[in-house]
Assembly symmetry: none
Homo-oligomer: 160 residues x 2
């Protein structure tokens, strides 16, 4: 279903940029994005995405993606399958934000190649990158927000 897939994407986006502590809270955020659904459906979505209710740094509960990039839906058969050779190729594992910095973790040795590609695109949302062995740091432009950064990166990392 088209609706479901874009909703799952929206959930991923929200969870990777905001601190969500309950399904009801997430439901509200989804409503803002125009998704109308019940808690029951959301519970099933979260189960499918293998989202986990974890404990954040201040002891607050927080829903977190455990494998943001692993699965994607295909066509009309609800069949799930592991994805994207592109992504396999770029070694992407996770992205996190703090302030105007994003930190991407990759598989060992993939960081510099990924950073190279990101630099190449000269996204206006990203003013610079620096790479170690399995970590890329991005400095985000002042005018850009996290959603914009994720959308930009999606060019290179499709299922970010």
């Amino acid at each position: 279903m088209k609706v479901k897939n874009s909703r799952l994407d929206a959930i991923r986006l929200i969870l990777s940029t905001q601190e969500i502590g309950s399904q009801e809270e997430l439901l509200n955020e989804l409503a803002k994005e125009g998704f109308k659904l019940t808690q029951a459906t959301l519970s099933r979505d979260l189960h499918q995405l293998r989202v986990v209710k974890s404990v954040g740094v201040q002891g607050r509960y927080r829903y977190v993606l455990t494998r943001p990039h692993q699965y994607r839906h295909e066509g009309t058969e609800g069949e799930m399958r592991p994805v994207s050779p592109v992504q396999e190729a770029n070694g992407f594992l996770s992205i996190k934000f703090s302030g105007n910095i994003a930190v991407i973790h990759t598989k060992p040795s993939y960081a510099s190649t990924l950073a190279y590609h990101i630099d190449n695109y000269e996204f206006p949302e990203i003013i610079g990158t620096i790479a170690g062995d399995d970590t890329v740091m991005l400095i985000i432009a002042e005018e850009a927000n996290r959603g914009a950064v994720l959308r930009a990166l999606r060019t290179i990392i499709p299922n970010i």
Copy 2:
């Protein structure tokens, strides 16, 4: 409290060896070991241990330890404190903060090893690191403060 600490140990042991899908189930296992407590207390224990209810391979729920190695306790003082399981000559020299960034200086060539260890712990307070030769940069989670970062790092760098 002595009882509590050994109970937390027992919880870790059970979770790392068995598939536990609910607190009640875990409660039963603990009872077999001689621990008598209520679900309320268990809920608090799990929160403290940062155990999360995750989704296992067959789609079944499962409680899993997120940081199995993080805390160890000692003696009769109930005080919990991080203990370094790996005694490293880590080359640490200094740490300074600016905004959401911390900069650690090390002896020459020690930076990447130190960063590796920090990454390994996956402290929620630190969303990523990047290392040069004698410098490690840490990006601090937005929700975390500097004290929390220092306390976390003490696990690895006792004399920080």
